[in-house]
């Protein structure tokens, strides 16, 4: 192994393998050699390079804005009004726990997100498997492309497209009536069905790509070997494919779950009168005719903490051994 630590950077030059193009030119430059020498020499420098930008970014732009919200959530009044006090209070948080008006939609949101996540996983898994392992490699991109393109139409258009499919005079009802299956349209829109249909429609991609990326890297010979050893399809799936695609399942589920908890526009347009979810409650506090920013901010903070705890649990699964990268 190349041991840069004991040699001055300039000596290492002769041992650099030959690279073509800009990588080669960069690799031979003195400044680069010096930097890399430092990097390899000291764990502290290495850590600083690795951690510097991410930590500054997270502290500035992930935490910074949220601190503004946290501050507002503790105020009695915001925006500041001349005739009202603006002292700090915990009342906005207390409100959440004291009134089931707010608590129920919150629980509903969490359950809804979980149901959507599991359904999406079940629907998308075979699709991802088909594209990654059954489709001929030369056609794979094309098969993936067909599934990708619908997502470029935008969330609003896609939501309206669900409306055009499911409405009383939507395509499905018109078709059923045309063929004489029904006399009166079946009300499909503004139900739990249309809501789930729409949200899965909007979020399926967040499941598809991680699953594809995970299944694609399972070595096909491994599956073959399992078959040669007499494992049936179900056994192969349970003992080989599923464990090896676990990464994809975890990241797909995280993405869909996190997005589904905060999803707002689609439920507003597709849900029925009994489907109030938490982001809508928060939005109403902000958008409503009364100034409820502090309450809305407090509720967002609660939602955030609960979601983050969930992420922490995911981390338990995702985390584990560290990988050598450099």
């Amino acid at each position: 192994m190349l041991d840069t630590t004991t040699q001055p950077p300039s000596v290492g030059l002769s041992m650099v393998p030959h690279y073509a193009g800009w990588i080669g030119r960069t690799a031979r430059s003195g400044l680069y050699r010096h930097t890399i020498g430092l990097l390899v020499e000291s764990r502290r420098v290495r850590l600083a390079v690795l951690a510097g930008v991410p930590l500054v970014w997270i502290a500035m732009l992930h935490i910074g804005p949220i601190l503004q919200m946290a501050n507002i959530s503790l105020l009695a009044n915001y925006p500041p009004q001349p005739d009202k006090s603006s002292e700090y209070t915990l009342a906005n948080y207390a409100l959440f726990f004291s009134d089931r008006l707010y608590f129920l939609p919150f629980v509903r949101s969490l359950i809804f997100a979980a149901v959507v996540t599991i359904s999406t996983l079940v629907i998308v898994y075979p699709v991802a498997y088909y594209v990654a392992k059954v489709v001929q490699p030369k056609n794979r991109m094309r098969a993936l492309l067909l599934l990708l393109i619908p997502f470029w139409a935008g969330e609003l258009i896609r939501t309206f497209s669900v409306i055009m499919l499911l409405a009383n005079r939507g395509a499905l009802n018109v078709l059923l009536r045309e063929f004489g299956f029904i006399d009166r349209p079946i009300p499909m829109l503004y139900t739990f069905f249309s809501l789930s249909f729409g949200v899965i429609y909007l979020l399926a991609l967040y499941m598809l790509l991680p699953l594809y990326s995970a299944i694609e890297k399972i070595p096909t010979p491994l599956i073959h070997a399992a078959a040669d050893l007499g494992a049936g399809p179900l056994q192969r799936f349970r003992r080989v494919i599923l464990p090896l695609s676990k990464d994809g399942i975890v990241s797909g589920c995280s993405l869909v779950y996190l997005t589904a908890v905060g999803v707002f526009a689609a439920p507003l347009l597709l849900g029925g009168p009994n489907a109030v979810i938490f982001p809508e409650v928060i939005a109403t506090l902000f958008h409503g005719s009364n100034d409820k920013w502090p309450e809305g901010a407090a509720f967002s903070m609660i939602m955030l903490v609960v979601s983050l705890t969930t992420v922490g649990l995911f981390m338990r699964v995702v985390g584990g051994r560290s990988v050598r990268l450099m």
């Binding site: 190349l2 990326s213 995970a214 990988v323």
Partner: protein
């Protein structure tokens, strides 16, 4: 060669793919059909067909400008979010440092905050640190929103990376940075590809952040939302159809290109 998949329910897998594809494409096909409707609101039956909405959209300077503006923002967002996202993922996975779980959770923070809250807090924040609203602020907010998607995608792929890959490269004389460029990045490609698609999609679809942080130049979603406010007219369907056709063309071209360069 023996086909090992013979006994697998291959046809069932195929069926699930095609049913899923129809599920994704059919509603949009309806929307496309509506773009030819000769009326001011979309509904079945279509009745009279017309191309006039297309001629209107094609001549609409605002639509073209908004589209180009959106694409520019999306590209800048993708580039910056990918770099930051990979960087964070490396940090979380590479070193045995204290607080990895906390860093990861904080990295995911922007994805779990509802868009509206995110947008408002960002607006107050940039006022506090004196960043002006406009293109830069929009890109910043979009990047913040997109980073968690890259982190999650990349992190899961990193976790499954064989440790000896990098060791092998180092044994062959590659320094850490070269090893990273030539071994780690290529291994991450499928995850990066997915992450970049998420970046472009979240950026190009974002309305609420753009509204709060933008200046007076509308992005495509801002234009479409503003138009929907006056009623869902086939004009909006025509816009969406044009976007879809252009995306499909780009996608097919890229696919064709990779196919040719590989063979």
């Amino acid at each position: 060669m023996r086909n090992y998949f013979n006994d697998l329910p291959k046809s069932a897998l195929g069926a699930s793919y095609w049913i899923f594809a129809v599920y994704l494409v059919l509603p949009l096909a309806l929307m496309t059909a509506m773009s030819f409707k000769d009326a001011n609101f979309i509904a079945f039956p279509i009745g009279n067909w017309t191309l006039s909405w297309y001629s209107k959209v094609v001549q609409d300077k605002q639509f073209l400008e908004a589209s180009l503006y959106s694409i520019g923002i999306a590209l800048a967002t993708t580039v910056s979010a990918t770099i930051i996202g990979v960087w964070i993922a490396l940090l979380v996975s590479a070193e045995n440092i204290w607080g990895k779980a906390v860093i990861f959770a904080l990295a995911c923070l922007p994805a779990v905050v509802p868009g509206l809250i995110n947008a408002i807090s960002m607006r107050i924040f940039i006022r506090a640190v004196d960043i002006p609203t406009g293109t830069f602020a929009i890109i910043l907010a979009h990047t913040v929103h997109a980073v968690p998607f890259v982190v999650i995608m990349v992190l899961t792929r990193l976790r499954s990376m064989p440790a000896n890959l990098v060791d092998a490269a180092r044994d062959l004389g590659a320094d850490p940075f070269i090893a990273f460029l030539r071994v780690t990045i290529p291994y991450l490609m499928p995850a990066l590809f997915g992450g970049m698609i998420f970046c472009v999609l979240t950026s190009i679809d974002d309305f609420v952040r753009t509204f709060f942080l933008g200046g007076y130049q509308p992005t495509l979603p801002m234009l479409i939302f503003a138009k929907v406010q006056g009623g869902m007219s086939p004009e909006i369907n025509a816009m969406a159809t044009i976007v879809l056709v252009v995306t499909t063309a780009i996608g097919l071209y890229a696919e064709h290109f990779t196919r040719r360069s590989r063979s």
